[in-house]
């Protein structure tokens, strides 16, 4: 559901541009609002969330889908953790639909999906690995689970086909989430060059936090 935010980006307590192919990891406190802005359109922001107090309690795609009996994320969606807790709620969305089935690209999955000679290409799961390793606190590959792809359109048909369709995002569209507890956000701004969903041109996103 399309829903604009009343928040003014000039009043944000924190902002940063995450360049294509980079990762970004930061704690967001309970009650803060977190926005991801698609600066140039049809970029995929691959995102994971963790309960800051106990990161084994983390975003769960299947529990989120099960909780709302719907595949797509938009305004009103509660992001559910593996322990059944609400980590964040989507409170504004000018894109309308976000994916959580498509997962993150990896160098290994690129060989499967595209060709063996794509193995060298930078990929989201390498960024996630750097993110959790730099974060420390015992986090490692086991913490990299099935993520959200903000701004990505992966429609499923009633016949059970799954396709990577052209994006429905555009420059300036955003999604905004309210933290329901202290959480850690990890974004890989997707560097995929083999998929038409971003017109083969990964672009930056901007993150904002309001107190």
């Amino acid at each position: 559901m399309l829903q604009e935010s009343s928040l003014n980006s000039e009043n944000a307590s924190y902002t940063e541009i995450v360049l294509a192919g980079d990762h970004w990891m930061r704690e967001i406190k309970k009650g803060q609002t977190f926005r991801i802005l698609d600066l140039e359109g049809n970029q995929a922001a691959d995102t994971l969330f963790y309960d800051a107090a106990e990161p084994t309690n983390r975003y769960s795609a299947s529990d989120t889908i099960q909780g709302q009996a719907n595949l797509y994320l938009t305004t009103g969606t509660k992001l559910i953790s593996t322990e059944g807790d609400v980590l964040l709620t989507i409170v504004a969305d000018t894109c309308g639909r976000h994916d959580t089935l498509g997962g993150a690209c990896s160098r290994e999955s690129n060989t499967m999906r595209y060709a063996h000679d794509k193995e060298h290409m930078h990929a989201c799961r390498d960024s996630f690995l750097c993110g959790v390793q730099n974060w420390g606190h015992g986090m490692d590959k086991r913490d990299i689970t099935c993520n959200i792809n903000f701004f990505m359109n992966v429609p499923v048909t009633p016949e059970g086909k799954l396709t990577f369709a052209d994006g429905i995002s555009a420059p300036g569209r955003y999604v905004e989430l309210k933290a329901e507890r202290d959480v850690i956000a990890l974004i890989s701004n997707c560097p995929q060059l083999n998929n038409p969903c971003n017109a083969y041109n990964p672009t930056p996103v901007q993150v904002f936090i309001w107190d």
Binding site: S62, A69, L71, S109, C146, V156, G160
Partner: protein
């Protein structure tokens, strides 16, 4: 074709099981009464950090559900197993599993003290119990498979559980391409609208299978699968 059954076991409804099945063997699951659900997680026995990956399995094959002749992909570009036979036709892998809270909300409470071994179980706890026996735990739980359960989506993404999709005697066969730790339980599907706690039993049988030929239907079902087979073969070539 006669198969020598190496292993046979009936898992009662609400039960759990885990074991390593090596490459070159096939696991057959039979829905004995109809309406069963088998929640399943898969790991590389040698390095369980490699695990079943729902997104790679779906996007690699452009599907939202599982049936023969598709394959189950790991997160490392390899294939754990191929679905060589399937008489049910549609199996879910996006809806996850039940939890203590969801079982209590749906069916109420029935404790061990009240019901002895008929007490109400939940899939997440069953997964964790079995994972714990292999040194694994909460961090190793990932979106699971739900064999024999059919869930469809409409154009808006709304999901519906299709009742009666798996009949008595429905079978699937999984031919293992890697040495795989299989962790499963027979709790009800989380979106099964049946308000009665009535998990169904499943028969497990394991037999030896022929190595997949160059024209194997699972291998050739998608070019993505063919490449993943090659990556799997490379892995074992290096280990041998």
């Amino acid at each position: 074709m006669s198969q020598d059954i190496l292993y046979s076991k009936t898992v009662k409804g609400g039960g759990m099981w885990s074991n390593v099945i090596s490459r070159g063997k096939t696991l057959r699951l039979t829905d004995i009464e109809g309406g069963a659900n088998v929640g399943m997680l898969l790991y590389n026995e040698a390095q369980p950090i490699e695990r079943y990956n729902m997104p790679d399995t779906l996007k690699g094959q452009h599907i939202f559900y599982l049936t023969a002749p598709y394959c189950l992909h790991s997160d490392m570009g390899r294939i754990f197993c191929s679905i060589t036979e399937d008489t049910a036709g549609w199996h879910d892998t996006v809806c996850g599993c039940s939890s203590a809270a969801s079982v209590k909300a749906k069916y109420g409470e029935y404790t061990y003290q009240e019901g002895r071994n008929d007490f109400y179980r939940n899939a997440r706890e069953n997964f964790l119990i079995e994972l714990g026996k292999w040194g694994l735990g909460q961090k190793d739980i990932f979106p699971n498979l739900n064999w024999f359960s059919k869930v469809v989506s409409d154009e808006e993404g709304n999901l519906s559980f299709v009742e009666g999709a798996s009949q008595s005697g429905a079978k699937i066969e999984l031919r293992f391409e890697m040495d795989t730790l299989v962790v499963l339980n027979t709790c009800q599907h989380p979106l099964d609208p049946n308000s009665e706690y009535a998990p169904k039993p499943v028969l497990l049988e394991v037999f030896k299978s022929e190595a997949p030929s160059a024209d194997d239907k699972c291998r050739l079902s998608r070019p993505e699968n063919e490449r993943a087979f090659e990556t799997t073969e490379d892995y074992y070539a290096l280990r041998a």
